[in-house]
């Protein structure tokens, strides 16, 4: 690690001021940031510890829930209201990482989790995300983990998390305190960015911004499924994951909110899929059409070509599971 100045933020405004300084970064659980600091992928001059801020509760709000940015992944997944009314979120969180990591990882921090791209984490390799203009090692290299949707010629990295994929399907909102004392809300679906020409920018946060909470909308009826495909049976990032909320009435789909992990630089949400499914009767043919939409512009990079058929199958599996259709 490069030497840094360690500051403990006592109040939110204080934190905002500290984080707005050039070279400052906020730290909460630290499970991702410290990993990257040891590799010198991240080299903050100041580390602002948010741990003392009162952002560690889950409260009812507007018929839904407001999850404080410092609530750990463990306590989110263990919360009775979440388990009862948003089981998708609990399942997605539990499908990621390990108990030790979830005990430290926070809501806000997990939203900001950086990619696992092998070239990003190796400072002796080119990476436009880490070092803009240096090139992308993955495009001609080993792209096994990498994206098939929304890529650019600058970057094919994926967002690696699970929690945000569920939040994306749930249409949750990120609450952000600006360094200037303002507050704004951004839907999770719009929080992460595609790489485009600025892969170094992964989300909409600006200097001085601090995530304060995630707001879950009022609970909805229906089946909630999180399906994660991975190489190990636990403790592995997704080759592909599907979050699905599906409701039916009289054999017809009445709600279909889907999001996908492991396929893109952000949790992937394509509103056309829900539009296709709602009002239709579940069938494998229908699910295949949904996959056609999902994968319309999919592009493989050799090593990750497998994700195209895999995503199709994982989508069908999740929809079968959610609708009770048997293949």
């Amino acid at each position: 690690m490069k030497p840094f100045d360690y500051q403990r933020a006592e109040r939110l405004e204080h934190a905002g001021q500290l984080v707005a300084d050039s070279g400052a970064m906020a730290i909460a659980g630290g499970t991702n940031l410290l990993d990257l600091m040891k590799l010198q992928v991240e080299t903050p001059a100041t580390l602002v510890d948010l741990g003392a801020l009162p952002l560690d509760t889950i409260a009812e709000a507007d018929g839904g829930l407001r999850i404080g940015a410092l609530v750990t992944n463990t306590l989110t997944a263990a919360d009775a209201r979440i388990r009862g009314e948003y089981p998708l979120l609990a399942r997605a969180i539990l499908a990621g990482a390990t108990q030790q990591l979830r005990n430290k990882a926070t809501t806000g921090g997990n939203l900001c989790q950086r990619t696992r791209c092998y070239y990003f984490t190796n400072i002796d390799q080119p990476c436009n995300k880490r070092d803009p203009g240096s090139g992308c090692g993955a495009i001609k290299g080993i792209a096994r983990l990498h994206a098939i949707l929304g890529t650019s010629d600058q970057c094919i990295a994926t967002y690696p998390g699970d929690m945000a994929v569920a939040m994306c399907a749930l249409d949750a909102t990120v609450e952000i305190a600006g360094g200037d004392g303002s507050t704004r809300s951004v839907p999770v679906r719009d929080f992460h960015l595609l790489p485009g020409d600025t892969p170094q920018r992964e989300n909409v946060l600006e200097d001085g911004d601090i995530i304060t909470a995630v707001l879950l909308p009022p609970p909805v009826s229906g089946q909630q499924i999180y399906r994660k495909v991975r190489e190990r049976s636990s403790y592995a990032f997704a080759m592909c994951s599907v979050a699905a909320i599906v409701d039916q009435a009289d054999g017809t789909i009445t709600r279909a909110d889907l999001a996908f992990g492991g396929l893109a630089h952000k949790p992937w949400h394509d509103p056309r899929i829900g539009e296709l499914l709602v009002g239709a009767k579940p069938s494998l043919t229908l699910f295949d059409k949904a996959a056609d939409l999902l994968l319309e512009n999919a592009q493989g990079y050799g090593e990750n070509d497998y994700k195209i058929p895999l995503a199709r199958r994982a989508l069908a599996a999740a929809l079968c599971d959610a609708t009770g259709l048997t293949a």
Partner: protein, 166 residues
């Protein structure tokens, strides 16, 4: 406030870069906690902070002002090993022994997590309280790698103790 390791107070390090793991192993001289990867990928560094298990490699010592840290040395001793330490010994739940302190710290916390009703990826219906099945134990222990492959023996040891304690 200082940091407390196994009920012994220590002053925080001057260099904020020092990980909780290095602080325990080096500054506090308690080398029972192991460094296997230094990146939260193996679990050998697992300790309990205020009773909750974490990877001590992915935490800074300065962030633990006032915390109570329990390491393998705090769970039992050569003369008075804990029930899990005895069960690991009896079931041969280790070979080279390097991942073992982390496995035992994890297992100690696991029993409390099941008692508290926390679900896991192996809990079919997350609305329900988890049951003490082998699959639950395996999932909850999956953050602790053992390259020697003592896994079946580790599960046997944990199962035996958890069945008595839960």
């Amino acid at each position: 406030m200082p940091i407390s390791i196994n009920h012994q107070p220590y002053d925080l390090p001057d260099d904020p870069r020092v990980s909780l793991l290095d602080f325990i192993r080096h500054d506090a001289g308690q080398s029972g906690t192991k460094k296997g990867c230094d990146h939260g990928q193996c679990g050998a560094c697992t300790v309990l902070v205020n009773g909750v298990r974490i990877n001590s490699c992915l935490s800074l010592a300065v962030m633990h002002d006032g915390d109570e840290v329990t390491t393998i040395e705090g769970l039992g001793t050569i003369d008075q090993p804990s029930a899990l330490q005895k069960a690991f010994l009896e079931h041969d739940g280790f070979q080279c022994g390097y991942c073992t302190p982390g496995q035992i710290c994890s297992a100690t916390a696991l029993i409390e997590e099941i008692r508290a009703g926390w679900p896991s990826d192996a809990t079919g219906d997350v609305e329900q309280a988890p049951k003490l099945t082998d699959e639950e134990i395996r999932e909850r222990m999956s953050g602790n790698l053992c390259r020697c492959g003592a896994y079946p023996n580790i599960i046997a040891a944990i199962r035996e103790v958890a069945e008595t304690e839960l």
